[in-house]
Amino acid sequence: MKTVLTALLALFCAAIFAAPVAAQDTMPPAPYAYQQLDDPALEEAARVLMETLRCLKCQSQSIADSDAPMAGDMRHQVRSRIQAGETPDEVRDWLVERYGDYVSYDPQVSATTWPLFVVPLLLVLFGGLMFWRRVGRKGESA
C-alpha cells in the first residue's frame, strides 16, 4: 500500500518506521476512479471538489491525491454523482451526512467551527489597531 501519508511525514521529519504493507484487494478500481468525465466543465467541478474531500483511509490526503482503493471509490462516487447532475455542494453534503465535517477540508461556519473564522477577523482588527497605535503619533521624536 502506498501510504502517501507516510511519505508526507517522511518529508518533514526523520523519525521513520515504515508501516508494514496492509493486505490489499485485487479488484479493479471503480470505473470513475481513474477516468475523467467526458465533459470538461463537469470534470473540472469534480476535480475541484475532490481536492477538498478527505481520504478516509489515508487520513491526511485529499481523495484527489491518493492511490488508496477507497479514495478511488470515493472519486467514483463524486464523478458519477456530478455526471448525474448533482451540484458539488450536494455531493459534499451527501458525504458530510455520512462522515461528519471530518470528510471535508472546507470547514463551513457552524457551531463548532466559528472560531476558525472569527479569529482571522480579530487578527485583522488587532493588526489594524497595533499599526494605528504605532504610527498614530507621527514621527516627531528622535
Partner: protein, 657 residues
C-alpha cells in the same frame, strides 16, 4: 568501542554545558560580566562543539559499517543499502536526528563563544547561559530517553532497512537543512533571553542576532523549498503543497523567522520595535519546538503511521514549557523595564515593515489555528478537517496586501517620507498590476486568487528591483542586492503558484501499448512497459515518447516501484522540464483488460515555485555575506565605529531626483 566513545563524548558535552550554564549565570549576575567561573564559559562552549562532533561522527561510522550490535543501526539500516543511504540513515531516525540537532547546536554555541565580541560581557554571559540551558534540555532528552548508542544483547543477522521513501538523495539532506534552521532560531532565542535578562535590548543586540536569524532563515527556506519539490515528484499526484500538519509545522518557524528578520533590521537601524523583536525571537524558536513536538509526539491525526513514543512527546512538551513558558514569563515580568523605541510616521520604511510584520504574524496565527483546531475540537469529541480551501483564501487576505506593501516599502525612507517622492515607480508597478489583472481576467476563466496572484507577481517582479534604480550598482551593498533578489524570488514563486493553479491541465487515461495520449500542448505515445529490478526494489516501467507542440520527441520513463526492505509501493514519476513548465507523468497499476493507468499533468510555470524559493534563499545568502564582510571590516577599524554607520539590510534609498 566506537559506540562507547560516542556516548562518553555526549556525557562530557552535557557536563560542559552545566559548567557553561553556571559560569554564564554567575557572569550575568556580576555588573561587569566577570565572575570566578565565567572565564570557563567560552572554553566550555568551544569544547562542546568538538565533543559533539566526535559523538556524531561515531554514529556516522557505526552506520557506515552497519554495526548491527547497536540497536539504532539494527532498526534503521540494512547491509544491502547503498552507501550514501547508510550514511543518511544516521539522521533518518529520531535518535540520530536529535544527535545531529545537538551537534549543530553545540557548534553554533562554540562559534558564538569564539568570535562574538560586540555585546557587553554581561549580556554575552547571559546569552551563553541561556544557550547552555537550552542545550542541556536536549542533552537530557538524548541521553535519558533517546540514546542513539544503545547496544543490543543479541546481535541480529540483518537490519530492518530504511523507509524506501527516504532512500532518495534529495530527502537524505532535507531534514538536516531544517535542523540547522531550527538551531539558528534557538541561537536567536538565546540572544533574546540574554538581552532580556540584562535589560540590553539595543540596536547592537539586533545586529549581533541578525546573521543567525538570517542563516536560520536561509536554511529553512531551502528546507521548505526542497521538501515541497520532493513531495511533488515523490508522491505521484502532482501536488506540491497540501497544508498537511507536518508541512505546516515546518512553515510556521519560517513565517516567524521572516518577521523576525525584518523587525530586527528595524531595531538595528532605527532602535524601534524593541519588545516586538524580543517577542518574535521567542515565538520563532517556540514554533520550531512546537513543530518538532507535533511531528514527534504523534498527537496529530496524521501521525498514526509512526511508531511514536508518547514519552518523547512528554519530554519535548516539558522542554517547550520550560523554554517558552519561562521566556514569556520573564518577558512579562520585565516588560516595564524595556523602554519603547523610536517613533516613526505612517509613510516610512518602518511603517511598511510593521505592516509586513503584522501580516506575517497574522498568517502565522492562521496556520497555527488551522493546524491545531482539529486537535482542539477532538478534545470535545468533534472531528473536523481544515485544509487548502480554508488556508488558501484566509491566508491570502493577509498575504496579498503584504505583497502590495512589499512593492513600495523598500523605496521609502526611514522615519518619515512622502508618497509623492516615489510616485513614479509606484505608478509603474500599479499599471503593470492592473494591466495583468485585466488581461488575465478577460482572457481566461480562472479563480480570483490566481488572477490576483498573477497580477501582483508581475508588479512585484518589477518593483522588487526599484531600490537599485539610479544607484551606483557596483557600490551598492550586497545586502541591498540580497533584499532585491529575495523579493524578486517572492514574485517568481507567487507567479509559479498562481500559474500552476490557473493553467494546469490534467489527463488520466487507461492506455494500451501504442496508444497516443494528449494533454495541453503535449502528445505522448506509450511504446512499451517492462519490468526492472534495482538493488532493493522491482518496478514496472512505462516507456513513452512525448513531444511538445509537435516538436522533437523526448523519452519519459515513469515507474511504479516495489521496495522489499521494508515492503512499500512508490511512484517514480517522469518529469519533462521546459522553460515554461513541466510535464508530469506517473504510471499506476495495470487494469484487468491489460491497459495501464497513466496520469499526466501539464503544469505551466510550476518550476517557478522552487526557482523562486531558491532565489529567496540566494538573496538571503547574499545579504548574509554582505553583513559578515561588513562586520569583519568594521572590526578591523573598530576604533571609529559609529552606531549608525552600519549597512542596514534595507538601506535608505536615495530619492530618484
Amino acid at each position: 568501542m566506537i559506540a562507547e566513545i560516542g556516548l562518553a563524548a555526549l556525557w562530557l558535552s552535557a557536563a560542559l554545558a552545566v559548567l557553561q550554564l553556571l559560569g554564564g549565570f554567575a557572569g550575568a549576575r556580576a555588573a561587569d560580566g566577570v565572575a570566578p567561573l565565567s572565564a570557563l564559559v567560552r572554553p566550555a562552549a568551544t569544547l562542546q562543539a568538538f565533543l559533539c562532533s566526535i559523538a556524531f561522527l561515531s554514529l556516522v561510522y557505526l552506520f557506515a559499517v552497519t554495526d548491527l550490535s547497536v540497536r539504532l543501526v539494527a532498526i534503521n539500516s540494512h547491509s544491502m543499502k547503498p552507501m550514501i543511504f547508510k550514511l543518511s540513515g544516521t539522521w533518518g531516525n529520531h535518535e540520530g536526528s536529535m544527535l545531529l540537532w545537538v551537534t549543530v547546536m553545540a557548534m553554533a554555541g562554540g562559534l558564538i563563544a569564539l568570535i562574538e565580541r560586540r555585546l557587553a560581557e554581561r549580556t554575552m554571559m547571559a546569552t551563553l547561559a541561556a544557550q547552555a540551558f537550552v542545550a542541556l534540555g536536549f542533552y537530557a532528552f538524548l541521553i535519558l530517553s533517546s540514546n542513539p548508542f544503545e547496544r543490543l544483547t543479541e546481535v541480529p543477522a540483518e537490519g530492518n532497512g530504511l523507509n524506501p521513501l527516504l532512500q532518495d538523495i534529495g530527502l537524505a539532506f532535507h531534514p538536516p537543512t531544517l535542523y540547522i534552521g531550527y538551531v539558528g532560531l534557538s541561537v536567536a532565542f538565546s540572544f533574546a533571553v540574554g538581552a532580556l535578562l540584562t535589560r540590553a535590548v539595543t540596536p547592537e543586540f539586533a545586529r549581533v542576532m541578525r546573521p543567525w536569524v538570517l542563516a536560520a532563515w536561509i536554511f529553512l527556506t531551502i528546507g521548505i523549498t526542497a521538501g515541497s519539490y520532493w513531495a511533488y515528484y515523490e508522491l505521484g499526484w502532482g501536488g506540491w503543497w497540501f497544508w498537511d500538519p507536518v508541512e505546516n509545522a515546518s512553515l510556521m518557524p519560517w513565517l516567524a523567522a521572516t518577521a523576525l528578520l525584518h523587525s530586527a533590521s528595524v531595531l538595528a537601524a532605527r532602535d524601534a520595535l524593541r519588545t516586538w523583536t524580543i517577542m518574535l525571537g521567542v515565538i520563532a524558536f517556540s514554533m520550531s519546538m512546537v513543530g518538532t513536538f507535533l511531528v514527534r509526539s504523534g498527537i496529530l491525526t496524521s501521525v498514526h503511521a509512526f511508531a511514536v513514543d508518547p514519552e518523547r512527546g512528554s519530554f519535548i512538551l516539558g522542554l517547550l514549557i520550560l523554554y517558552i513558558g519561562g521566556a514569556l514569563v520573564i518577558f512579562a515580568l520585565r516588560a516595564n523595564t524595556i523602554a519603547e523605541g523610536e517613533r516613526f510616521s505612517l509613510v516610512s520604511r518602518e511603517g511598511a515593515l510593521v505592516v509586513n510584520n503584522i501580516a506575517l504574524s497574522a498568517i502565522l496565527g492562521i496556520v497555527l489555528l488551522g493546524t491545531l483546531y482539529p486537535l482542539l475540537t477532538e478534545a470535545f469529541d468533534v472531528r473536523v478537517s481544515v485544509g487548502p480551501p480554508y488556508f488558501n483564501p484566509v491566508g491570502a487576505i493577509f498575504f496579498l496586501p503584504m505583497v502590495l506593501v512589499l512593492m513600495v516599502g523598500p523605496l521609502l525612507r526611514w522615519r518619515r517620507d512622502e508618497f509623492s517622492r516615489i510616485i513614479k515607480p509606484v505608478a509603474l508597478a500599479g499599471t503593470i498590476v492592473l494591466a495583468v489583472l485585466v488581461g488575465v481576467a478577460l482572457l481566461n476563466d480562472i479563480g480570483i486568487l490566481s488572477v490576483l496572484g498573477l497580477a501582483l507577481a508581475a508588479g512585484l517582479a518589477i518593483a522588487s528591483w526599484a531600490p537599485l534604480f539610479k544607484r551606483a550598482l557596483l557600490r551598492t551593498p550586497l545586502a541591498v542586492w540580497g533584499m532585491c533578489l529575495a523579493h524578486f524570488g517572492v514574485a517568481v514563486a507567487l507567479f509559479g503558484m498562481a500559474a500552476d493553479s490557473a493553467f494546469q491541465k490534467e489527463r488520466l487515461v487507461a492506455a494500451s501499448v501504442g496508444d497516443v495520449v494528449e494533454v495541453g500542448p503535449w502528445t505522448g505515445r506509450l511504446d512499451s512497459v517492462n519490468a526492472l529490478a534495482g538493488q532493493n526494489w522491482t518496478a514496472m516501467q512505462a516507456n513513452m515518447m512525448i513531444s511538445y507542440d509537435g516538436g522533437p520527441e523526448r523519452e519519459a520513463r515513469p515507474q511504479s516501484r516495489n521496495f522489499w526492505t521494508p515492503q512499500m509501493e512508490t511512484s517514480e514519476v517522469a518529469l519533462l522540464t521546459r522553460w515554461n513548465g513541466q510535464l508530469y507523468v506517473a504510471v499506476g497499476n495495470q487494469a484487468e483488460d491489460g491497459r495501464w493507468q497513466l496520469r499526466l499533468w501539464w503544469k505551466p510555470f510550476v518550476t517557478f515555485i522552487w526557482y523562486g524559493g531558491l532565489l529567496i534563499a540566494l538573496g538571503g545568502a547574499l545579504a548574509l555575506v554582505g553583513r559578515v564582510i561588513g562586520d569583519l571590516r568594521r572590526r578591523r577599524y573598530a576604533t571609529d565605529v559609529d552606531d549608525h554607520d552600519e549597512l542596514p539590510l534595507e538601506p535608505e534609498v536615495q530619492p530618484a531626483s
